[in-house]
Amino acid sequence: MSNGTADRVAKATPPRVARKIRGLSDRAIAWIFVAPTIFLLLAINIFPLIWTIKLSFTNYKANRIGREVKDIGLRNYERILTDGDIWLNMQATAHFLFWTIFFQVLIGFALAWLIHRNFKGNAFWTTVIVLPMMLSPAVVGNFWKFLYQPQIGLFNYIVGFFTGRDPSSFEMLGSVDLAPWSIVIVDTWMWTPFVMLICLAGLRSIPDYIYEAAAIDRASSLRQFFTITIPMVLPFLMLAVLFRGIENFKMFDLVVQLTGGGPGSVTELTSINLKREAFEKWRTGYASAYAIILFVTVFGLASIYVKALNKVKER
């Protein structure tokens, strides 16, 4: 801040406030500025977390106000961790996580590799590729619902065109075998650009002189790719994988819009199941324990994420 601005701020401060502040140390003034944020953080984040942990040890139901709340110890955790149906939901989440990350990394890296080679219209195609990421998940969900329509959907028509199958003979969202793949396709379509951008940042961070030195040593393009490009982009790729992993572990909106967890419960991811337990069955204590299990898992993954991030920074 320039002296002029500082003088103007000092003059604009009401004398009563100025007199009070003059007696305070720098540390105390800093605390005064930080206190509202800390208070909000405690009220919005920390208090609900502690309250959820407390509720997870009870049989509390939010829709029965006058009912006596009993402390049931670890029974909610025990029930969740021995429930075969929730285990199936975890597996559905794992299927979704594994395949979305696999395809997003594969396609994202390939796209970044292509975009990295400067060609005519490079900026235009980058914008086109990045577009899906900018849309709202609700819009994407509705949009793909139309694309997956067996009678009028473009997706079924294209699959029919290339395979010779009748487009109305299969239903992506209604079939037990195809529905888990339908959500994988949509998430891949939406979030591959994100992975591409991270990979592109990694590719652009590699200095040209390394490739030049390798070329002087007569290293082939393939050798350069595996000994220079891949190792140097790997921390960025890892970051993208962890980031998408954490995000997809919490996936809710897109899948609810597309399949609502169905048919049956083949696409019922943990977050959808959690919402059903909390706000349809109103088993608040049980849902709190479920939320804590998911929270610890995401927190653990986030710890790895922070470590990976620090490693990238060190480079």
Partner: protein
Amino acid sequence: MTGFIKGIIGFRRGAWEMLATIIIALGVFMLMQPFAMWAYTYSFITTLVGTVMFIVVSHFRE
């Protein structure tokens, strides 16, 4: 490997963080694997131990 073991014995942050990361990853795998129910049952405690360990060891010296 020797460096890792030395780091564990000498309470070095890098090695302990690596160990905590492995435990967290193992817990997440146990939670989502389709092979054994017992692994699913013990997944939460594994992840919790890994996460708490990560928080504690991140205060160790480098």
